[in-house]
């Protein structure tokens, strides 16, 4: 990796207009399923996203959707080993939600994903809800959703975290 400043490189962040590329990322991320938000499953074709680019190459993706009047960031992925991608995309999403007049933003993560729980809490998010068993419910309809996630921990539940804007 090239020498980088502490803050990391400056990414070009813009809306992802290449839907097939975006949906491919989300299908892989969600194992052909979706994410369960406010009582229903959100599918890849329903989300919008920003990409973070370096030299025109896609480094990361953040997807979002307004559901029931709540601004949700649904995924945040670093596609490379480039440091700082997730933080840059998160900062961008916060600015977008704020500019659209939302008072808060939420994210959804599964119970196994303790690194994400730490990441978001370190950046000011607080736990808002725990939905026990919703991943198990989704899996009945979408058997492709894996049984286990991070470090082999069974995937069953979702956390929602919230940050004031």
């Amino acid at each position: 990796m090239s020498a980088l400043s502490e803050e990391g490189p400056s990414f070009d962040i813009r809306p992802m207009t290449d839907r097939p590329a975006l949906e491919a990322v989300l299908r892989q991320r969600w194992s052909d399923g979706g994410v369960f938000v406010r009582g229903r499953m959100i599918r890849p074709q329903e989300v919008e996203a920003f990409g973070a680019y370096l030299d025109d190459r896609l480094q990361g993706v953040a997807s979002w959707r307004v559901e029931d009047g709540v601004f949700y960031m649904l995924t945040l992925n670093n596609l490379t080993d480039q440091r700082g991608v997730a933080t840059a995309l998160l900062d961008h999403m916060l600015a977008v939600a704020r500019a659209q007049g939302f008072a808060s933003m939420r994210v959804v993560i599964s119970n196994d994903n303790w690194p994400a729980l730490r990441f978001y809490q370190k950046r000011g998010f607080a736990l808002a809800e725990l939905h026990v068993g919703v991943v198990d419910v989704m899996r009945r309809e979408m058997p492709s959703i894996p049984e286990r996630g991070v470090e082999g921990i069974p995937m069953r539940d979702e956390f929602e975290l919230e940050i004031a804007l």
Binding site: W114, L117, Q121, K122, I153, F159
Partner: protein, 160 residues
């Protein structure tokens, strides 16, 4: 399975437990399931090797529920927590208890990881409970691991 050293797990004498825990809970501010718990309220076991104490696990026996208060390691040896939790499970089963419960604060993601890897599942989020309790006990710290604000309690359970 665990490849750490074999620990001898022994019951802890109450006076020794109180002595060890008083250092860790200076103002009896350990909050378990909405109630303040002091060192004299708990039972405990220790993980020993050749007379050295490596860690302790403490719990409240509440009918058929073994409610874990804390699992503390004092040394860097691997496998202390696992050995202690396994021993607590065996102890609970031998007493005819049916459920083991752990309560952790929201900042403690390593405990969330640990318990879920040991087969515990999340059962409840008690949002804001630490904020409420801090009004009664201002000594409860505002921030915990990685400077994350301590606000909520997560509850996990494991059948025995």
């Amino acid at each position: 399975m665990s490849e750490g050293p074999a620990f001898e797990i022994l019951p802890m004498r109450q006076d020794r437990l109180v002595e060890l825990l008083q250092l860790r809970w200076p103002e009896r501010s350990m909050l378990i399931a909405g109630r303040f718990v002091g060192p004299e309220d708990v039972e405990g076991i220790g993980a020993f090797t050749s007379d050295r104490l490596h860690g302790i696990a403490t719990w409240l026996a509440n009918g058929r529920v073994l409610h874990i208060v804390a699992v503390n390691s004092f040394t860097e040896l691997r496998g202390i927590g696992i050995a202690l939790v396994d021993a607590m499970m065996a102890e609970g089963r031998s007493r005819g208890m049916t459920l083991m419960r752990a309560s952790i604060s929201n900042d403690n993601v390593m405990a969330l990881r640990f318990y879920q890897k040991r087969g515990f599942r999340l059962t409840a989020l008690h949002r804001g409970i630490y904020d409420a309790m801090r009004q009664l006990r201002p000594s409860i710290p505002a921030t915990g691991v990685d400077n994350i604000p301590i606000r909520d309690e997560l509850e996990l359970e494991h059948e025995l």
